[in-house]
């Protein structure tokens, strides 16, 4: 897959009266992997979940051995409920998020990737996405169901991004055969 040009989006502070959220990222962008890969099995499952939840945005978490920014390996995909049940917004069910996060931490595993779908627009983080992103060492995977964004094999296109300090930077994503 070709490496896309660097994409940056910036946004204003999210909340009324709130300051811009800044999270100290553990790993600088320059030190992160230039390419990340996921198994065919995980890609198939993500695409199926995105299709199945349409026309609502789908969401889920990939657990890994370490955060993607640190070079961790993806281990398994966990689809989650979008409590907003919207075609343009998602929020991972807070109860599921708690369970998944505690189980991973207890097992010495990490949040590797956070996945959601855009049902009719490109797999590019929106200003909404970059404003709310709260896990700077995780990989943000976006799946697009828009016909023009399909992968060469006709499947929904998946693109990967770092989102740090409200700026999105694309990462080459390889889906293993």
């Amino acid at each position: 897959m070709e490496i896309s040009t660097r994409w940056k989006t910036r946004s204003k502070a999210m909340s009324s009266g709130g300051s811009t959220q800044r999270l100290d990222s553990v790993v600088g962008i320059a030190d992160r992997p230039k390419r990340v890969s996921i198994s065919a099995e995980i890609a198939i499952a993500i695409r199926a979940h995105a299709r199945g939840e349409a026309p609502r945005e789908a969401c889920g978490i990939i657990i890994g051995s370490a955060p993607a920014a640190s070079g961790g390996a993806p281990l398994r995909w966990i689809p989650t409920t979008n409590v907003l049940a919207s075609s343009t917004l998602y929020e991972i069910d807070p109860a599921q998020l708690l369970r998944i996060s505690l189980d991973a931490d207890d097992a010495g595993e990490s949040i590797w990737g956070i996945v959601h779908s855009h049902v009719a627009s490109p797999a590019v983080p929106s200003v909404t996405d970059t404003t709310v992103a709260g896990y700077p060492d995780a990989l943000y995977l976006l799946v697009s169901l828009a016909p023009s964004q399909a992968a060469p094999d006709g499947e929904p296109g998946i693109r990967a991004w770092w989102i740090v300090d409200q700026v999105a930077t694309e990462v080459e994503l390889v889906v293993q055969a």
Partner: protein
């Protein structure tokens, strides 16, 4: 009182690496303020400028979402476990904050 606040990996940089911080507080709000007093870098993750709970942080008391309890007014007691997690949310929607 001794309330254990469990810190997820994504916020441990703000607690010097601590996974659990023990604080006192009669309410959840007081507990979180005590936490922030001990680790000021957590303030921005938890509170808005007006000291309300940030929209995109989830706080749990013994596994229950604080927003379904009493929010920051939720009474606390010894040995409860508080967990803080940044929310995971977003979407293709219109720009936020405009």
């Amino acid at each position: 009182m001794s309330i254990n606040v469990r810190i997820p990996p994504v916020l441990r940089a703000q607690t010097g690496g601590a996974k659990v911080v023990s604080v006192d507080g009669a309410t959840l709000g007081a507990t979180l303020h005590a936490l922030v007093a001990a680790h000021p870098d957590l303030r921005e993750q938890i509170f808005e400028a007006d000291n309300t709970l940030r929209r995109w942080v989830n706080v749990y008391v013994d596994g229950a979402d604080a927003r379904h309890l009493g929010g920051l007014e939720t009474p606390t007691r010894d040995d409860i476990e508080v967990v803080i997690l940044p929310a995971m949310a977003g979407g293709a929607a219109a720009p936020v904050g405009e």
